[in-house]
C-alpha cells in the first residue's frame, strides 16, 4: 500500500496506465452448484484418504465413494423441491440449473452409484488399482454433472473431456491384458480425433457469433440466409458428438473398447458416458441450432437411421454378450438420435423423449451388465453359449435378465416399451414424411433387435449348461443391491410409475428461449 501511495503521489500518470477496470466478482448461487461441490469435495476426500491410508483403507474406498454419490444426490433433491427458484441462472447464462439438468444430474449420480456397486467386487478380486479407479469414476461423473448445466461451448467442451479422459484411462485399467490396452488406446485415439473435429466446429461457431454462449450462437445462426460456413460448423460439431455417442459411422471404437475394458467400466461407458454425450448433443443442438433445423434434421435423420440399422444388424451376429450389448447400445443410440431429426417443430417434446429414454436405458442396461458381471463370476466367460442352463442353477438371475432383455427389446410391461413409445410419439406427432419414415425404420429395427435378445433368453431358459456345472452362484451384497435397484427401476418405469416419470420428464422440457 505504501508503495502504491508513493507511486500515486509522484507519477500518477503511470499509475493510471497500470490501473485496470475493477474486477466484478460474479454472483455464485452456492445452492445451485452444491451437487458439483459435494462431489468435488467428496472426490478430493477419497483421494486424500487413499493417499494417506494406502492399503489400510483400501476396503472402505468403494463405500466412501458410493456415499459421496448419495451425498451429492441430496442437494439435487433440495433443488428440485424449490421449484419456484428454478431455473437458477449463473455467470451470465453460461451455467443453468433447471429441471432438465436436475433430472439428468440425478440420473448420473445414481448411475455412478450403481457403477460403484458393480465395481466393488470386480476391482477387489481382480487385484487392480482400485482406489484410483474410484477417484477417476468420481471425476468423470463430475464432468457429467457440469455437462447437464453447461450452456456455453467452453464449459461443454471441458465437461466432455472431463467425462472422457478418465474413461480412456480406465478402459486400459486391466494392464496385464492386451485386449484392455487395445481398448484404452482405440478409445483414446478415436476420442481425441473426435475432440479435434468438435473443437474445429466450435471455433467456427465462435467465429460467427463472437461469443461462446449457446443462446448467442443461436441468435447468430438465425439471422440472414444460411451460409456454407454454418453447415460446416454444424457438421463438424455433430460429427464430434457422434463419436462420443458411438453413432454409426463413428462407432468403430465401441465394440473393441467395450470388450477389452473392465466390465463395470463397460457399463459406465455404455450408460453414463453415452448419456453425457447425448446431453451435450441436446444442449448444443436444441439451444444452439434451432435456427438451422433444415441442416441439422436431415443430418440427424441419416445418423439415426444408419445407427439403429447397422447396430442391430451387427449385433445379431455377435457371440460375445458384451460385444452384443455394445452393438445393441449402438442401436439404442440410434433410437435416441431419432427425435432430434424432428426437433425443429417440437424441441421440448423431443428433449423429454430423449431424457425419458436415457433414464430407462440407464436402468435396463446397467441391470444387464450387472447380470453379465455376476454370471462371469461363475462361468468366467462372456460368450452367449455359456449362459446355457442359467435357469436351472440361478432362476432369480435368469428372471432379472429376462426383464432387462424384454425392456431392451421394448416389450411391455417393463420400462423399455414406454421409452420407445415416447420416441415414436415424437416422430409421428407432426405427421411429417421424415418423422414417419424414421418411425417405420425404428419399428422394423425393434423387430430385428428382438431376435438377438430372444436368443439369449433361449440359452438361459432352455439350453443345458455347457459344462454341466449346476452349482449355485453366490452374489455378493453390492451386486445384489445393484441388481435390486436396476430391476426395481426397470419394472416401475414401464408400469406403475409411468405417470410420475412422464411428469418429471415433462418438467424436463428445456423451456427453450
Amino acid at each position: 500500500m505504501i508503495g502504491a501511495n508513493l507511486l500515486g503521489s509522484s507519477f500518477g500518470g503511470v499509475l493510471a496506465q497500470i490501473e485496470q477496470t475493477p474486477f466484478v466478482r460474479p454472483h455464485i448461487d452456492w445452492h445451485a452448484v452444491a451437487p458439483e461441490l459435494v462431489l468435488l469435495a467428496g472426490g478430493a476426500l477419497v483421494t486424500v484418504v487413499d493417499v494417506i491410508g494406502l492399503e489400510k483403507v483400501r476396503r472402505i474406498i468403494p463405500s466412501l465413494t458410493s456415499l459421496v454419490f448419495l451425498a451429492a444426490f441430496v442437494p439435487v433433491l433440495t433443488l428440485w423441491n424449490q421449484q419456484g427458484d428454478l431455473p437458477r441462472v449463473m455467470w451470465d447464462g453460461a451455467y443453468v440449473v433447471d429441471n432438465y439438468s436436475l433430472v439428468l444430474k440425478g440420473l448420473f449420480l445414481l448411475s455412478g452409484y450403481v457403477i460403484v456397486l458393480l465395481s466393488t467386487n470386480y476391482m477387489l478380486e481382480g487385484d487392480y488399482y482400485d482406489s484410483e479407479y474410484y477417484q477417476l469414476i468420481s471425476a468423470s461423473v463430475l464432468g457429467m454433472l457440469v455437462m447437464t448445466s453447461a450452456r456455453d461451448l467452453v464449459s461443454i467442451f471441458v465437461a466432455i473431456e472431463l467425462v472422457s479422459i478418465p474413461a480412456y484411462l480406465m478402459a486400459a485399467w486391466r494392464k496385464r491384458d492386451l485386449k484392455s490396452n487395445e481398448a484404452g488406446l482405440k478409445y483414446m485415439l478415436m476420442g481425441v480425433f473426435a475432440s479435434a473435429l468438435l473443437l474445429y466446429g466450435m471455433s467456427l461457431l465462435y467465429g460467427m457469433a463472437a461469443s461462446t454462449k449457446l443462446t448467442d450462437i443461436a441468435a447468430a445462426l438465425s439471422i440472414g440466409e444460411s451460409k456454407p460456413i454454418f453447415t460446416l460448423a454444424i457438421v463438424f460439431t455433430v460429427v464430434g458428438f457422434g463419436f462420443k455417442v458411438s453413432a454409426v459411422p463413428f462407432h468403430t471404437w465401441a465394440p473393441d473398447t467395450y470388450e477389452g475394458a473392465p466390465t463395470p467400466l463397460t457399463a459406465f461407458l455404455a450408460v453414463a458416458s453415452k448419456a453425457a454425450g447425448f446431453v451435450a448433443l441436446l444442449n448444443v443442438v436444441i439451444i444452439g441450432f434451432p435456427g438451422q433445423a433444415d441442416v441439422v434434421e436431415p443430418l440427424m435423420w441419416v445418423l439415426a437411421a444408419a445407427t439403429m440399422t447397422v447396430g442391430n444388424l451387427i449385433a445379431i451376429r455377435q457371440t460375445n454378450i458384451v460385444r452384443m450389448l455394445a452393438y445393441s447400445g449402438v442401436a439404442q443410440a440410434g433410437y435416441m438420435l431419432a427425435p432430434l431429426a424432428v426437433f425443429g417443430d417440437r424441441p421440448g417434446q423431443a428433449t423429454s423423449a430423449v431424457v425419458t429414454y436415457l433414464v430407462i436405458y440407464a436402468a435396463m442396461n446397467l441391470g444387464a451388465f450387472a447380470v453379465v458381471i455376476i454370471a462371469a463370476r461363475k462361468t468366467g466367460s462372456g460368450e452367449i453359449s455359456s449362459y446355457g442352463g442359467l435357469f436351472n442353477y440361478a432362476p432369480g438371475l435368469t428372471v432379472a435378465m429376462t426383464l432387462f432383455l424384454f425392456s431392451l427389446a421394448g416389450i411391455p410391461p417393463v420400462g423399455g416399451w414406454y421409452a420407445k413409445f415416447e420416441i415414436f410419439r415424437v416422430l409421428t406427432d407432426g405427421g411429417s414424411g421424415a418423422g414417419v419414415s424414421l418411425a417405420i425404420i425404428a419399428a422394423v429395427n425393434s423387430v430385428f433387435a428382438a431376435f438377438y435378445y430372444l436368443a439369449i433368453l433361449k440359452q438361459m431358459w432352455f439350453m443345458p449348461a455347457p459344462d454341466g456345472d449346476h452349482s449355485r452362484i453366490s452374489i455378493p451384497p453390492s451386486l445384489q443391491a445393484a441388481l435390486g435397484v436396476t430391476v426395481f427401476v426397470t419394472i416401475v418405469t414401464g408400469s406403475v410409475l409411468i405417470g410420475p416419470l412422464s411428469d418429471i420428464t415433462k418438467l424436463a422440457d428445456l423451456a427453450l428461449p
Binding site: M1, L6, L7, K56
Partner: protein
C-alpha cells in the same frame, strides 16, 4: 501497459532506426558481459580454490576469454558422420537466441529514483531496454522454456548415446523446474499487478517494503533462485554435463566454434538469469531504498551503476554455488523440484493472495483490515501446517508400505538368496577358480 512511449503514436522511420540501434547495443552489451562473466567465473572459482586463475592475457587476464574464443574459432570443425547434419549445425544457435531475447526485456539503466525511468533522444522518449513487452514475464518464461531446444537437439543430432542421455535428462529437468519457476513468478505478479518488466521495476522503486523480495516475503525469491539455477543447468544442477556419467554431456561431439557457441550461450544465460532476478526481486536499476542523507544524481547512468552492482552480487552467488556445492543425484534433483519447491511456492502463493485480499479489507471477518490480515495469516499457517503434516504422513505410510512389500517379495521368492549364492559359486573368488584350473592342468 508496456511499450516504449515513442511507439505510442504510430511508427515512422526514425522509430524503427532507434529500435534497431537498441537491438545492436543490447547485443553488444550482452556479448561483452558474457565475455567478462567467463573471466569473472574463472577468476572467482580460482580464488575460492586457492588458485590464481587466468592472469596472462591482458590486464588481470581479462582477455583470456577472447584468446580462447579465437583459438576455438581456428580449430577444425568436426561434424560426426552419423549425425543429423542440419540439426547438428542449428542447435548451438537455438540455445544462444533465447538467452539474448530474454536479455532484451531487462531494463538496464534509467532514473527510477523520482523519474519514470525514461530518457529522451532526438525527441523520442524511450526506456533503457530493447522491448517493454506487455506480457514481459510470460515472454521470459516462454524464452526460458525455448532454451531447452538447443540442448535437446544437440544431444539427439550427435548420433551418439551419451549426448542423447544428457539431452533427455536436460528436458526432464527443465520441465520439472519450469513449474516451480512459474509459480514463484506468480507471487511477483500478484504483488506487481503487471507483466511488463518496466512497470515491475517502477512499482518497486522508492522504499524497501516495495521491493518484491520483501513484498513477496522472501520465499518466492529463494525458490526462484534455486529453480533458476536448475534452469541454467549450472552446478549443483549440472547433471546435463556430468562428466563422470556422460563423458562431456550434450556437447560431447561438438568442437570448434559450435562448441564455443554453447559455451557462450551458457554464460549468456547466466548473466540473463541474474539480470532477471535483479529486475523481478530487487528493483533493477531502481535504488534499494530512499537514501536518507545523500542525494544521488537523478540520471540514467545512476540506474546503470545500481543495476550493475546488484547483478554482480548475483553473478557472484552463482559462481559461489558452483565452487562450493556438490552435484545432486538425479532422484534428489527430482525430489527437490517436485516435492519441495512446487508445493512450497504454490502454498506461498495462496497465502500471499489471502493476505493481500485481507489487507485490502475485502474479507471482513473483523472490521479492521489488520485484524483480518492476522486472521488470514494464522489460518494460512494452520492450513499449511496441516497440509505439510498430511504430506509427511502420506510419505511415511508409503515408505513403510513399500518396505513391507519388498519384504514380502523377498519371503515369497526364496530362491533370490540362493541364486545369488549360486552366482557366487559359479564365478567364485578368482583365486579359487585359478586353483581348480591348475589342478586340472596338473592331471
Amino acid at each position: 501497459m508496456g511499450g516504449h512511449p515513442f511507439l505510442a503514436d504510430g511508427v515512422d522511420f526514425g522509430d524503427v532506426l532507434l529500435s534497431l540501434v537498441m537491438v545492436v547495443a543490447a547485443f553488444v552489451i550482452c556479448l561483452v558481459a558474457t565475455m567478462l562473466m567467463v573471466w569473472f567465473e574463472r577468476k572467482v572459482v580460482s580464488r575460492l580454490q586457492n588458485r590464481i586463475g587466468p592472469n596472462v592475457a591482458g590486464p588481470f587476464g581479462l582477455l583470456q576469454t577472447l584468446a580462447d574464443g579465437i583459438k576455438l574459432f581456428f580449430k577444425e570443425d568436426i561434424i560426426p558422420t552419423r549425425s543429423d547434419r542440419f540439426v547438428f549445425q542449428l542447435a548451438p544457435y537455438l540455445s544462444l537466441v533465447p538467452a539474448f531475447l530474454t536479455f532484451t526485456l531487462v531494463p538496464i539503466a534509467g532514473d527510477f529514483s523520482g523519474g519514470n525511468g525514461s530518457s529522451t533522444v532526438f525527441g523520442r522518449e524511450f526506456y533503457w531496454q530493447v522491448a517493454d513487452v506487455p506480457v514481459g514475464i510470460l515472454f521470459f518464461l516462454a524464452m526460458s522454456s525455448l532454451g531447452i531446444y538447443g540442448i535437446m537437439l544437440a544431444g539427439w543430432s550427435s548420433g551418439s548415446k551419451y549426448p542423447l542421455l544428457a539431452s533427455v535428462r536436460a528436458s526432464a529437468q527443465a520441465i520439472s523446474y519450469e513449474a516451480a519457476l512459474g509459480l514463484s513468478l506468480a507471487s511477483v505478479l500478484l504483488v506487481a499487478g503487471t507483466l511488463s518488466t518496466h512497470d515491475i521495476v517502477l512499482g518497486q522503486a522508492g522504499s524497501l517494503q516495495t521491493l518484491n523480495v520483501v513484498a513477496t516475503g522472501f520465499v518466492p525469491f529463494v525458490v526462484f533462485l534455486i529453480a533458476g539455477t536448475a534452469e541454467l543447468n549450472r552446478p549443483p544442477f549440472d547433471l546435463v554435463e556430468a562428466e563422470q556419467e556422460l563423458v562431456g554431456g550434450f556437447h560431447t561431439e561438438y568442437s570448434s566454434i559450435r562448441f564455443a557457441l554453447f559455451f557462450l550461450a551458457e554464460f549468456m544465460n547466466t548473466v540473463t538469469m541474474g539480470a532477471i532476478i535483479v529486475t523481478l526481486f530487487f528493483g533493477g536499476p531502481a535504488p534499494l531504498f530512499d537514501f536518507p542523507f545523500i542525494d544521488f544524481p537523478h540520471a540514467w547512468w545512476m540506474g546503470f551503476i545500481l543495476f550493475f552492482a546488484k547483478l554482480l552480487v548475483f553473478l557472484f552467488i552463482f559462481v559461489w554455488f558452483r565452487a562450493s556445492l556438490p552435484r545432486l543425484r538425479y532422484d534428489q534433483l527430482m525430489d527437490l523440484g517436485w516435492k519441495l519447491l512446487i508445493p512450497l511456492s504454490l502454498g506461498w502463493l495462496l497465502i500471499l493472495g489471502g493476505i493481500r485480499v485481507a489487507r485490502d479489507g475485502n474479507i471482513g471477518i473483523v472490521d479492521d483490515s489488520i485484524g483480518d490480515t492476522i486472521i488470514v495469516l494464522v489460518l494460512g499457517g494452520m492450513v499449511l501446517a496441516v497440509g505439510a503434516s498430511l504430506i509427511m504422513l502420506a510419505n511415511r505410510n508409503a515408505r513403510s508400505e513399500r518396505l513391507r512389500n519388498e519384504g514380502l517379495v523377498a519371503v515369497a521368492n526364496p530362491d533370490l538368496g540362493t541364486s545369488r549364492a549360486a552366482d557366487h559359486a559359479t564365478t567364485g573368488p578368482p583365486g579359487a577358480s585359478h586353483d581348480t584350473a591348475q589342478v586340472g592342468a596338473d592331471h
